[in-house]
Each structure stands twice: as structure tokens, then as C-alpha cells.
């Protein structure tokens, strides 16, 4: 099981990885805000934002192939939204600008996630007085996402090993069952986790 598909490279060692998590988080957020606030007439400044980002990526030694694949995976969502701009007058230019802007933001977040262990980010959020409940929820989400994916994968494997006649309608039906089961298992697990937290003094 590849339990690290989100932040496979977050524990590498490079000058970028060694920067304090708070500084990286602030820089990434500033970059995103700048990209979002940029008016269309000043589009050239996007290049000025992308430049340092690419430089940071190069220094961080996160493989380019990995970053490119991740971007490709996320780009369809961006394009799906941006495509609406094509229907407006002068849409081609607006479309390109939207995609470029969103890509810069995505890349910034991708780089942040892959140069900073998630636990460090959470600690920064805690220091910034983000509500503890929110930080705990984020921590649990991060932790159990992998367990859930693992569980889904095991169920899928178990189903596949007993699927002898693949047919589309049947596959859909079993998929629905698997998803339903996953919900039930997740909720039961949530109860057990809560018990485990209580057992160690959670109030």
C-alpha cells in the first residue's frame, strides 16, 4: 500500500525542507493571495510569482516528474471551471489567465505539502491560535485518510478475487455496496478511535 500518495517527498532533506514550517506556510499563502488578487491586466506578474516557486522546487529536489504528474491530475478540475470563461467575449485570454493563475496556486500548495511534514503544519496552525477543534479534525483526517484508502483497497481486492463474470451493471452494484460498507466501517472505526482517545484522558 502506498500510504504516502499525498506528501511522498515531505521528509526529504534539502534547504527548502529545512526552512521553518511557519515561514513556508506564510510564503505559500502570500503567494496564493497575490496570485488571486492580481488583476488580469497585470498578468505578466504571474511569471514573477512562478519564478521563485520553480526555483524553490528545483532546490527542494522533489522530483519534477512527480510534481508534473500531480499537476496533471489536478488540472482537469481547474480547466473544468475555467472553460466557462471561453463563452465570454475575449474568452481565450481570460481562460489562459485563469488556468495559469490556478496552476501557480496549485503548484505552491503541492510544493508546500511535499516539503513540510503535515504534523509541522498543524503545529504552526496551533501556534497561530487556530481553534483546537479544527486542528484536531485536520490531524485525524490526515491520519485516517490513509487507513480509509487502505481499507477501500483491501475491500476492492477482496471483491475482485471473487468477481468471475465482469458485467457493468453488476460492477456498479457491488461498487455501491463497497462504498456503503466503507461508510459503515468508517463510522464504527470513528467510535473505536473515540474510545481510544477517551482511554488516554481525552475530554
Amino acid at each position: 500500500m502506498q500510504a504516502d500518495f499525498l506528501d511522498r517527498h515531505s521528509r526529504l532533506d534539502s534547504p527548502v525542507h529545512r526552512l521553518p514550517a511557519g515561514a513556508k506556510l506564510a510564503a505559500a499563502l502570500a503567494l496564493v493571495v497575490a496570485a488571486v488578487a492580481l488583476p488580469r491586466s497585470q498578468a505578466i506578474w504571474l511569471a514573477a510569482l512562478a519564478g521563485p516557486l520553480l526555483a524553490a522546487a528545483a532546490i527542494s529536489r522533489v522530483p519534477w516528474g512527480f510534481l508534473a504528474r500531480r499537476m496533471l491530475l489536478l488540472e482537469p478540475f481547474v480547466i473544468g471551471v475555467a472553460v466557462l470563461a471561453l463563452f465570454a467575449p475575449g474568452g481565450g485570454w481570460a481562460f489562459a489567465f485563469l488556468v495559469a493563475r490556478a496552476s501557480v496556486c496549485l503548484f505552491a500548495m503541492l510544493l508546500l505539502a511535499n516539503t513540510t511534514p503535515f504534523g509541522d503544519l498543524l503545529r504552526v496552525l496551533g501556534r497561530l491560535h487556530v481553534p483546537a477543534l479544527l486542528v484536531t479534525t485536520l490531524a485525524l483526517m490526515y491520519r485516517y485518510l490513509f487507513v480509509l484508502v487502505d481499507e477501500a483497497q483491501r475491500m476492492k481486492r477482496a471483491r475482485t478475487s471473487r468477481t468471475f463474470r465482469p458485467g457493468r451493471s453488476r460492477t456498479w452494484r457491488t461498487s455501491a455496496t463497497v462504498i456503503g460498507q466503507l461508510f459503515i466501517r468508517a463510522s464504527e472505526r470513528a467510535e473505536r478511535i473515540y474510545a481510544a482517545m477517551c482511554a488516554r484522558g481525552w475530554r
Binding site: 500510504a3 504516502d4 521528509r11 511534514p117 503535515f118 504534523g119 498543524l122 490531524a139 485525524l140 490526515y142 491520519r143 485516517y144 490513509f146 487507513v147 472505526r189 473505536r192 478511535i193 474510545a195 481510544a196 482517545m197 477517551c198 482511554a199 488516554r200 484522558g201 481525552w202 475530554r203
Partner: protein, 245 residues
């Protein structure tokens, strides 16, 4: 720790415990054995005050003389350390350090005390230096030992273990067994691993269908083949080859 006439019925009507009474003296290691669905895990959850006690008035479970009641729960949970069956349920933090630190932080210790306890506990389970690792990158045996460190960090006086050796490889099993052997706490171990019981426990309690069906010295009970077979158990191999003199 004392349990007197403990009864519990789940919301769906299943009678999980039908009047269980036993006690564990300080310093003792007791094995809790019985077939699947006998109520072992339910019983263990009760010992930590994790299931509603509404069916039991007066309180059926007492720890160090304290009855389980809402205002006693923090104290009881500090005294009773519970190791869960599925390590993934217990390891809920993004890093090993955070997880082991969870209990001490709940106790309100200062950051330096927390760090000290984490370092001590991880060293005790032989995982010094694992602080920054993510739980989902650990092996099954390592996960189990991190769980144990998380429990030990609360400095309990009683250790309750639910299937500690399940899904461990022989090496992980052996390491955990040696580890448990070295921990000088009162222990209650629920397990199907009868050889573990023989090696760690002086006394066993057999639970079946929500009732205690037998209780006594480990070797005596576990060598009683008819009794063991009647309750979905077996006579462990290591007892087949010993000759009483």
C-alpha cells in the same frame, strides 16, 4: 481491580455480559480467554469506563476501590491503561511523538515533562528515535509498540491488553512478549494466544457467552482438555510436553 456482577446489553439487544465477577490483585498477571464473541472486548471497555454503566447500580467495576462514575473517569483512565486490538484505532496522530504525547498532554503536563515521558516510553519499547515517523509508515510490530508506549506514557498502574499479539509476525510477537514480561505492572490480557498466557499469566479467567465459566491457575486450567475444548479453546502445545513431577 474488582468486578462484581457486571451486566451489559448492547442497543441491539445482544446480552454481551450476564453477570461477571472477578478481581485482579496488585502485581498480578491474569489471562482472559474465551471464544470469539464471548464478551472479552466488551468487558475490557467496561474496565476503562468506556461503555455506559446504566445497567449496573451500584457500580460493578471498582479500580483501586474507586467505582466507575462520571466524576471518577479521568482518574480511572489514568490508572488503567488500555491497549486496543486494532493499532490503527489507537494511533490517531500524524506523528509517533504526537501520539505518545497525547495522554501526558491530556494529563496537563508541561511541554518538557511531556517530551521526557515520550522519550522514556519510546525507549522502554525499544523505539527511541522514532518520534518524527508517521504511524502509517510503521510495520505492524512497530505500531503495536508505539501504542504500548502511548499507554505507558500515562504511567498507569494496571495494563489491560486486548489481543496484544494478533496480526504480529513471530518476531514481533516474541519482542512484545519480552517487553510485557519486563513491564512490572498489574496486567489483564485478553487473547487467543494461549502460549502467551502460559508464559505471562499466573492465573486465567475463562469467559464464554457473557459468563465466567472457570477461573484458576494457568497450567491447571489450560491442561484440562475437556474444559478447553468445551469453550472453543485448545490445550496449548507447550503444555502437552511438560511432565508434572
Amino acid at each position: 481491580m474488582e468486578v462484581r456482577d457486571l451486566r451489559f446489553r448492547y442497543d441491539d439487544g445482544t446480552e454481551a455480559l450476564r453477570g461477571v465477577s472477578f478481581s485482579v490483585a496488585a502485581g498480578e498477571s491474569v489471562g482472559l480467554i474465551g471464544p470469539n464473541g464471548a464478551g472479552k472486548s466488551t468487558l475490557l471497555l467496561h474496565l476503562n469506563g468506556l461503555l455506559p454503566e446504566s445497567h449496573n447500580a451500584p457500580a460493578a467495576v471498582r479500580v483501586d476501590g474507586l467505582p466507575i462514575a462520571p466524576n471518577n473517569l479521568p482518574d480511572i483512565r489514568r490508572r488503567v491503561g488500555l491497549l486496543f486490538q486494532d493499532a490503527n484505532d489507537q494511533l490517531f496522530c500524524p506523528t509517533v511523538f504526537e501520539d505518545v504525547a497525547f495522554g501526558p498532554r491530556q494529563l496537563g503536563l508541561s511541554d518538557s515533562d511531556v517530551a521526557q515521558r515520550v522519550a522514556d516510553s519510546l525507549a522502554k519499547v525499544g523505539l527511541a528515535g522514532f518520534d518524527r515517523r508517521a504511524p502509517h509508515h510503521l510495520s505492524g510490530g512497530e505500531k503495536r509498540r508505539v501504542c504500548l508506549a502511548g499507554v505507558l506514557a500515562c504511567q498507569p498502574s494496571i495494563l489491560i491488553l486486548d489481543e496484544p499479539t494478533s496480526s504480529l509476525d513471530p518476531k514481533g510477537r516474541r519482542e512484545l512478549k519480552e517487553l510485557l514480561h519486563q513491564i512490572p505492572l498489574t496486567k489483564l490480557i485478553a487473547t487467543h494466544d494461549l502460549e502467551l498466557v502460559v508464559e505471562l499469566c499466573t492465573r486465567v479467567v475463562i469467559l464464554d457467552k457473557g459468563l465466567i465459566v472457570a477461573e484458576g491457575p494457568t497450567v491447571e486450567l489450560l491442561s484440562n482438555e475437556p474444559l478447553m475444548l468445551a469453550h472453543g479453546l485448545d490445550r496449548p502445545h507447550i503444555l502437552r510436553h511438560t511432565h508434572p513431577h
